[in-house]
């Protein structure tokens, strides 16, 4: 019984850790979008344009929104079990 419970618990914790990491990365990404012009972004970033001085404010907002969503997910998942099951 205990073994069968451990699997889902581990995967749930893994999901929470992954969401927290994704949230941090996305918030950092948002800041990068806001402070770096499109020409200075790493070339693998969406919105990269060589020699462009345009700042992708909207890309940054999109990254921030998803990042915040990840943090909200973590907040609910790590709450009291009774509530987490309901949510």
């Amino acid at each position: 019984m205990r073994d069968t419970m451990l699997g889902p618990m581990r995967s749930d914790r893994l999901l929470v850790v992954a969401a927290a990491l994704a949230g941090i990365v996305l918030v950092v990404l948002a800041i990068v979008y806001w402070v770096e012009p499109a020409g200075s972004l790493p070339s693998f970033f969406p919105g990269y344009q060589a020699h462009s001085s345009h700042v992708h404010v909207k890309h940054g907002l999109a990254a921030l929104l998803v990042g915040l969503a990840c943090f909200v997910f973590v907040w609910f998942r790590t709450g009291p079990k009774r509530r987490a099951a309901a949510g």
């Binding site: 909207k58 999109a62 929104l65 998803v66 909200v72 907040w75 099951a85």
Partner: protein
């Protein structure tokens, strides 16, 4: 003076009145903003910076009207969101909290798609001809939604309770994401969300209510994001007409929302579908021969 002549006050009033009606009605306000100037022979194009700045004012007015119309609901929803964050979970009995998170889940994909695709889609589908073609497609979408809708049993519960019980998380995400269709001139945001809500099993009235609640943060945020353009150099010469248009849009959107909430108590999307088909076909023919 030259800039001021770009959108005269009478034209601003017409555009404001139409925007106010066409935003809550499932008939594409952006499509009308693209087609109408062309049909009337006005030299206004939807990608002109001054016109974008002008539209910001009318959209902001519509969002404020929606917010005011559903203000009591928003207070309850925000309190519900606060309770769920405090308790770190959504109480199954707390329909305000659930509805609030359904709106968040629906708004995130719409917001992201809007932020990333708005400028590209508007520049690709900028012509009145394509807007007329998509208006026809919008009519087909509305008709299909009425034909293929899931008729779930309706209860006597409160409107928000019915919505919170009927709509699941994946469905809220899909219905919300469907708002991105409205980035294409000719497709309606209200139409896409109402159609999606009918597929989920909501009644016409609940679908309209959910669509208006979903639309408020998106329209408001999009307008606020573009507000610097209206207040900046792009808004020079159009701020006066934009204010006049915003007042007209506020008046007509209030009347339109009030009308629609009563209309959908017993009626369907079919009249709007027929209007879109007729207006789309008529505009297409006129634009082709003119």
């Amino acid at each position: 003076m030259i800039l001021a002549a770009l959108i005269s006050y009478p034209r601003a009033v017409v555009l404001g009145l139409v925007q106010g009606v066409a935003e809550p009605f499932p008939i594409s306000s952006l499509g009308h903003a693209v087609i109408l100037p062309r049909l009337l022979g006005w030299n206004i194009h939807q990608n002109d910076p001054y016109f974008v700045a002008f539209l910001v004012a009318t959209h902001l007015a519509t969002a404020l009207v929606l917010l005011a119309f559903f203000r009591r609901d928003w207070v309850r929803i925000l309190r519900g969101l606060g309770r769920s964050l405090r308790d770190r979970g959504i109480d199954p009995e707390d329909t305000d909290a659930r509805l609030g998170w359904l709106l968040v889940v629906g708004t995130i994909p719409a917001g992201i798609l809007g932020l990333l695709l708005q400028d590209k889609l508007r520049s690709v589908f900028a012509s009145a001809s394509s807007a007329a073609a998509f208006l026809i497609a919008n009519g087909v979408l509305l008709l299909a939604a009425e034909q293929l809708r899931r008729r779930a049993p309706q209860t006597d519960d409160d409107d928000d309770v019915r919505i919170a019980r009927q709509v699941g998380w994946p469905q809220a995400f899909i219905v919300g994401a469907s708002q991105a269709l409205a980035l294409i001139p000719g497709f309606s945001r209200a139409g896409a969300t109402m159609a999606g809500s009918l597929f989920v099993g909501l009644s016409n009235r609940d679908a309209a209510r959910f669509a208006f609640l979903l639309a408020t943060p998106i329209i408001g945020a999009a307008a606020l994001l573009k507000l610097p353009e209206l207040l900046g150099s792009e808004g020079n010469g159009v701020r006066g007409p934009a204010l006049a248009a915003a007042l007209c849009a506020a008046a007509t959107s209030y009347l339109a929302v009030r009308f629609l909430m009563r209309f959908f108590e017993s009626r369907t999307l079919v009249p709007f579908a027929l209007y879109c088909l007729a207006a789309g076909v008529g505009s297409s023919i006129y634009l082709a021969v003119s």
